[in-house]
């Protein structure tokens, strides 16, 4: 049964990564992880997962390469525009009542969602009193996020989504085009803190009013999903807001009764 051997190898690889590098993928959804490890095998030219394990144990640079496969660096600005429209119409008016705001974008990847949030807050006049904490486990993604430069080829898609999200200005006001990149406004960046944080191993670092964590929990198994939701519940202030991905829910978690649904289709929940 070769498949049985591969499952054992995969578990051993995740255990080795945890012991050596403190990155904990042991409670990720296996179906997707298995596939991404297979992709890594091909790209890193390893014949088996065991060979890959030996490589990453002895070579931190090799691990950093593998990490790019284990995390999912897929992101865009104003993804699912209806989500941002929902925040603008139904959450922002309530956030206005706070003298200062802390917002957590959990699993921010290369930062597109964090910048989108900053633009939304700027347009609603809230950015000056806000700090957005955008966290991820992938240092290369965080580095790109801090730079705030995105390929010009993506800008037309971002612009369409920005407009569909109810953007109040002109999207090009927020970036400077240079060569083949769009550099986002430094004054947005001043309200963004990009930091290394793991939903699998770290604890809560601040009290927040809004947490946006979209298309991150789908990569976790139920136990890890519950751990992450536990962190969110602990971090959120009384009646704080939680935004999830368009196909995510609290239905199969242990936190279904600790949040109420504010926007059903846009997946915005409120702490009870």
């Amino acid at each position: 049964m070769p498949e049985r051997t591969a499952e054992i190898e995969l578990r051993l690889l995740l255990e080795a990564i945890f012991l050596k590098y403190d990155y904990d993928f042991r409670e990720y959804s296996l179906a997707s992880l298995r596939r991404r490890v297979q992709q890594a095998l091909r790209q890193l030219e390893c014949a088996s997962i065991s060979e890959l394990q030996a490589r990453v144990l002895h070579d931190p640079a090799g691990f950093m390469q593998l990490l790019q496969y284990l995390t999912i660096p897929v992101s865009e600005m104003f993804r699912d525009p209806e989500y941002f429209r929902g925040l603008r119409q139904h959450v922002i008016p309530l956030l206005r009542t706070y003298p200062s705001l802390k917002i957590w974008v959990a699993g921010c990847s290369t930062g597109e969602e964090a910048y989108s949030m900053a633009i939304l807050l700027r347009e609603e006049g809230l950015l000056e009193r806000s700090m957005i904490y955008a966290t991820d486990i992938n240092p290369l993604s965080l580095e790109r996020a801090r730079k705030g430069i995105y390929p010009l080829t993506q800008i037309s898609g971002f612009t369409r989504s920005y407009q569909a999200a109810g953007g109040a200005s002109t999207f090009s006001d927020y970036y400077t085009a240079a060569y083949d990149g769009a550099l986002f406004d430094k004054s947005l960046r001043d309200h963004l803190t990009f930091a290394d944080h793991s939903l699998a191993t770290d604890s809560v670092f601040a009290e927040t009013q809004l947490i946006s964590c979209r298309n991150v929990l789908i990569y976790f198994n139920k136990q890890l999903q519950n751990r992450a939701l536990g962190l969110f519940h602990e971090s959120l202030c009384h009646r704080g807001f939680l935004g999830l991905g368009s196909k995510e829910s609290l239905n199969f978690s242990s936190y279904g009764k600790q949040f109420e649904t504010l926007l059903r289709d846009e997946k915005v929940f409120r702490k009870l």
């Binding site: 498949e3 499952e7 959804s29 296996l30 179906a31 997707s32 298995r34 596939r35 991404r36 999912i72 897929v74 298309n215 929990l217 789908i218 990569y219 198994n221 139920k222 999903q225 991905g245 368009s246 196909k247 995510e248 829910s249 239905n251 199969f252 978690s253």
Partner: protein
């Protein structure tokens, strides 16, 4: 022939697939099939979001868009959500992923089939129907490698034969059948074990 208690049917279809699925599911419903049916049908994203509704209007069994972490339940027809890959975990619950398209498709049939092969092993029936691309053939082969039963629609009957032919070029599936005979076979296999 060994008596294999099948526990789920995964299906993949592309161009011409909605009609084929409706015919097959209708026949399985009439025969009282209780197995969970899990389908990826390629469609433009907007049409994809209406697929569950379209099928539900024509079928007796409950039809649901598969939700992340939901357990697979007998008697239900699940369809993949638009814009996400659909997988089955080893504990027989669904998981979604927003990774890049595979074979230009998201959801991809290969991903559903490969994960289902892992989760169900020999207790799985994989069905590949009409379509204009090659998604699904690699996944169907993996179902065969894990001991599951593989069924491919007779290319002559398929609205578009590419997808069935791609599977036949890749390996030898257990049966190449017309939809009517396919439904009959699945019902018969289920009946054998209900005894």
């Amino acid at each position: 022939m060994t008596r294999q208690a099948y526990e789920a049917v995964v299906l993949g279809a592309s161009a011409g697939g909605v009609e084929a699925l409706l015919y097959l599911f209708g026949a399985l419903d009439s025969g009282g099939c209780r197995l969970p049916l899990i389908a990826v049908q390629h469609l433009p994203e907007k049409a994809q979001s209406q697929l569950a509704e379209i099928l539900a209007a024509r079928l007796k069994r409950p039809v649901r868009e598969a939700e992340d972490k939901a357990p697979v339940q007998p008697g239900v027809l699940y369809v993949a959500a638009p814009g996400y890959h659909l997988s089955i975990e080893n504990d027989r619950s669904f998981s979604l992923s927003s990774e890049a398209p595979v074979n230009f498709s998201r959801p991809s049939i290969d991903l559903l089939f490969e994960s289902a092969a892992h989760a169900y092993g020999p207790k799985l029936i994989g069905v590949l129907l009409t379509g204009a691309n090659e998604d699904g053939s690699a996944g169907l082969e993996q179902i065969a490698q894990y001991g599951g039963l593989t069924l491919v629609q007779e290319p002559a009957e398929a609205a578009v034969a590419c997808m069935p032919l791609a599977a036949l070029q890749r390996f030898s599936p257990d049966h190449v059948l017309r939809l009517r005979d396919m439904a009959e076979l699945i019902l018969r296999l289920e009946e054998v074990h209900a005894e």
